[in-house]
Amino acid sequence: MRLEQVIKGLALAEVCPGTGVEREVSGAYCSDMLSDVMAHAQPGDVWITVQTHQNCVAVAMMAELTGVVLTRGMRPDPEMAEKASREGVALLTTGLTSFEVAGRLFCLLRQERGEC
């Protein structure tokens, strides 16, 4: 499933509109600890978190994640937004909690695979 379908399906807001939306989403990882994400997120995952600082952009790049979803109404620090834009990392926001985003995305991906 492409990121743009996830954005539409979960009504996510794009911080840098159009950035990386054609990339494939293979899954997701939900964590606020950066090294945990590096250890367990898989390439192509979206990262669901409440961390809003610029170092998260490098984590997403190193771990080859498809995008970062900031939950619970969190807004990116200006430095994070600027870096994400510069590096082409998709940065999305939502008022939903991490639990809700993970749950809805889980269903969306399973539906696409015909598993529910």
């Binding site: 293979s26 090294s35 898989q42 170092n55 952009v57 490098a58 790049m61 190193m62």
Partner: protein, 157 residues
């Protein structure tokens, strides 16, 4: 195992100065290492393992040390990453290598660092990993990541 570095066969050498508590530019060295490895045609799996190792090494210097040097030596079959810092050193290396153990300060933990997974991540992503430390002087880690030619972009590192 003798490395390309030791045999003098390295094709590319990169060196980055890393400054303690400089969170603004933190990650830039690892980003450049990743791009360089992609550029020279390392496998997707090796690129990702090396990028994670370089990032964790860089962040450890930023979080814990006054300053340090990240040296990267690339040859066709492997990349060697050496991170040497001037910092507090580690008294108990065995403890430091355990997942979940961290000495990161509270403000840094609030940023999501200090999960106690940096060193374990580096060891897990490396084919060879060594760490040496002198309390009050600093720490040096050395990681070798082989370039697996047949490695595809599979899930997991």
């Amino acid at each position: 195992m003798q490395t390309p570095e030791e045999r003098g066969e390295a094709r590319l050498r990169l060196e980055f100065e890393v400054t303690g508590l400089d969170f603004a530019t933190a990650g830039s060295a690892a980003t450049r290492v990743k791009r360089a490895l992609e550029h020279v045609g390392f496998s997707a799996r090796a690129v990702r393992r090396a990028a994670i190792t370089a990032y964790e090494a860089e962040m450890n210097i930023v979080i814990h040390a006054r300053r340090g040097l990240l040296k990267v030596c690339v040859a066709p079959e492997a990349v060697v990453i050496v991170a040497a810092d001037e910092g507090p050193g580690i008294a108990d290396l065995e403890l430091a290598m355990q997942e979940g153990f961290s000495t990161a300060p509270e403000d840094v933990r609030e940023m999501g660092f200090g999960a106690g997974m940096g060193l374990p991540n580096m060891r897990r992503c490396s084919d060879h990993f060594t760490i040496q430390s002198v309390v009050g002087r600093g720490t040096t880690v050395r990681a070798v990541i082989k370039n697996d030619q047949v490695g595809g972009r599979g899930r997991g590192v």
